[in-house]
């Protein structure tokens, strides 16, 4: 069953057609895939890739790398924006969705060396996402700080096609400072929220 979810998620990503909340549309497709999977050896991922590649050959070539980290980054940005608005509940939802995004990620595409580091980042990031999904805002922010480091490392490892800004807030954490990733140049501080919304400076642009 888990496999079929991966297949579904993978095909959704490649098609780039639907968001998660429209899963029902794909449910038929999922059943077909599930049946295909049942006939396959559970560990033979190449056949799974082939079946999806066959359908999406053209799209595959252009979106392969970046499509994989996009959903994770989107969820991260959702948490970031919610924290900037001091909206703990929305951040918590983002945390939950981030966990889903991680399970939707297709690890079979990773090289051996990437795999090891990815697993370390994943293990750590999932824990932060869990805490964010179930904590008061101060604690969410604490874990968001670590999550930001993880995401930054994840992007260095696997890349993205998004334009992002590594932004630095020197005030957070008793002036120890912390970074976050943003999709805009406009500073909206997720650590201090409305207390100091514009505190921060862009350190680096990704893409």
């Amino acid at each position: 069953m888990k496999k079929s979810i991966y297949v579904l998620a993978f095909s959704v990503l490649l098609l780039g057609a639907c968001k998660n909340d429209k899963k029902q549309v794909e449910s038929n497709e999922m059943q077909t895939k599930e049946m295909q999977m049942d006939t396959d050896d559970g560990h033979d991922h190449s056949s799974m890739d082939e079946s999806t590649m066959h359908e999406n050959k053209d799209i595959e070539a252009t979106t392969q790398k970046s499509a994989s980290t996009s959903e994770i980054i989107d969820r991260y940005l959702q948490i970031k924006n919610s924290l900037a608005e001091d909206n703990s509940k929305k951040a918590a939802e983002g945390g939950k969705m981030m966990l889903a995004a991680f399970s939707n990620f297709d690890m079979n595409k990773l090289s051996e060396s990437q795999y090891k580091e990815y697993m370390e980042i994943l293990e750590d990031a999932k824990e932060h996402a869990e805490h964010i999904s179930d904590s008061p805002i101060d604690h969410q922010r604490e874990h968001f700080e670590n999550l930001s480091t993880d995401l930054n490392d994840l992007i260095s490892l696997l890349g993205t096609n998004k334009t992002l800004y590594v932004t630095y807030c020197p005030m957070y954490n008793n002036k120890k400072g912390a970074i976050w990733l943003s999709e805009t140049k406009t500073i909206k501080n997720p650590y201090l929220g409305s207390k100091m919304p514009t505190c921060g400076e862009i350190q680096k642009q990704i893409n």
Partner: protein, 141 residues
Amino acid sequence: MVVLVGIQFIPTTRNQSVLILQTDFNNTFQVPNNVQQILKISCYDCHSNNTNYPWYNKIQPASWLLENHIKEGKKELNFSEFGTYSKRRQKNKLKSIINQIKKDEMPLYSYTLIHKDAKLSERNKKDLIDWLSKQKDSIEK
């Protein structure tokens, strides 16, 4: 689960010597004696494979509640298995430990209410935080 049930029948002192793993916090870092002592008294009951059970553990539902509590505690942080965490995770765990101590979130109030000796004095807190911060900064990733 089996271990936790089994522990009830083994004298505590013996149990402590049996369960020290290679991955234990004390094998991951050079932990000074005073820090070891504080961790053992204030943290290990819920955050290690080695619980020093109180007398009321023999009574239900206290026993069941404690078991759940320890399960949760170990899931978050297990000093007995600290060495199995990646460097990235070790560093973040140390950071979280420091934050929890600073904010007086840990040890839990409900725990120190009964275990008076587990309550951290200001001196204890400073010793812990100073040493833990040094270890945290010494980890590259």
